[in-house]
Symmetry: D2
Subunit: 161 residues, 4 copies
């Protein structure tokens, strides 16, 4: 089901990762701050890099026929993000089920540590034809040993750790 030639890890070992975001000029609007739609782009970048520290490129997943689509997105905007100021985006995988992955996001201003925004997403796993498919086993967290018997319910990182 997944291309065997790709070099994927056995399990995911890292559940949370931080990247630096610097709002681009084109991401601002005439209100003088980053436009509200841009945060969804940043969250996606956070997920991509969380995958990468787990040994996977999303590009390779797609080439293997594993696609993730956003099924639900929530963003709480506490304070505006400004052009060219350093922000830290922390992306945490909070849940992996048989067909969905959940993440939480926290966007912090580096200069003073103030939280600018928080968010969460639910991703669904689909095949190239857009149909729902099982999440590949290697995307499950390392510490999770109950997968084989799982009924598709969940394994909460938060509870386990």
């Amino acid at each position: 089901m997944v291309n065997k030639n790709m070099n994927f890890p056995k399990r995911t070992a890292v559940k949370s990762h931080r990247i630096v975001i610097v709002p681009r000029y084109s991401e601002t609007d005439q209100g003088g701050v980053a436009h509200n739609s841009v945060y969804a782009v940043w969250f996606e970048m956070g997920r991509t890099e969380l995958l990468r520290v787990n040994g996977m490129a999303y590009k390779d997943l797609e080439e293997s026929g594993v696609f993730f689509v956003v099924a639900r997105l929530t963003i709480k905007y506490h304070r505006p993000a400004k052009y060219d100021e350093k922000l830290q985006l922390e992306t945490t995988c909070t849940k992996v089920t048989i067909a969905k992955i959940e993440h939480d996001y926290k966007l912090t201003r580096c200069s003073d540590g103030i939280i600018l925004a928080e968010g969460s997403t639910t991703l669904a796993c689909v095949a190239a034809d857009g149909k729902i498919r099982r999440i590949p086993e290697f995307m499950y967290p390392q510490e999770c040993t109950v997968f084989k018997n799982a009924t598709g319910d969940c394994r909460e990182y938060k509870d386990n750790n």
Copy 2:
């Protein structure tokens, strides 16, 4: 507090409005569908046009020192939106309080009436300096007569109508 020369209505009379959205090529991603971040842009367009049918241009509000910033956004993506297919976006103002406005969104595919996405936002009203300010009285719904005594709580369109 609000520029008196602007020609704003006495009250808002229309609580729900529909516009047609046709996904642009630049709004698609390599997954072959509209990117998840674009829906927030469409929702904003829906709000703008709902304002307009109520006799207000958001541009004029800003010039009067009344800005709305997104404080909360939720989107549920049910099915992908595709390039160049006609969609209908229904934007409904569900609640107006002393400093916040809430909207619901429903994105429907015109060809078969299937709902592709649903969402909601909470907007905060701020002044040019970014500080929270009262929502101008003319933005309250027409049928609402309890405003003067309101404590900032709410007036649910859904309950009233």
Copy 3:
């Protein structure tokens, strides 16, 4: 070479077309005007609608295995375009050769007829695999009768008409 089931016209008959563009809030930047990258998106919309009045949807071209990629883009920005003001974009096909199509663009402010920007693009025709391919015959202008003997050079609308 091109899907025969698609219903394409025999030739293109319309060489110039106008659409209305209204800059979205998300298209502005903190300079208070439409961001310079957005014009390329508008030009693409202009081409799409010029195709449509000629009886073709770009979507259908892609499904037939005919893709157009931008090979060259030039934009001259004369005056800024502002949020929510009506603009007219005139798109003119200026040249069709065996593998390339050229367009000119003129963006005008509706309120006073002032030209805000001008541009031009060269598109290359490629197949699904990204390789250069011949432009389908039906994309040639109607009045052009020399195609069969053409060596891939050009047929200037401007000269012919």
Copy 4:
């Protein structure tokens, strides 16, 4: 004319700079490559970082009342840029006149050194009110000693070096 409290350099000393660009998923389109409008965003990032290595943040320039707007943009797209592949963008300041700055851009794929795109821009210097103004003296290249007598014509890096 320029805020004296800002800490700007005496002259610009670096005329060319390289940054790494990694196309985001949201920057791709359904053609499977980075959308043609995104290159203008990348060029702007290149200019921003060229400024920064010269000791200036564009943010500070704006706060000092010095704005740069794109007056002309040309892009030649040689080969497509793909999602998540490392690209090198080289930005070179080629000319500084009394009211305009010109840059050249070269976008190269890191894996094989192939040039994917080339471009150039002309920027105009404007004040906060959008009116053309002189470029601050500190933005002129260090080696240029003829500025005082210049008539607004030009100083070509290419010729001088």
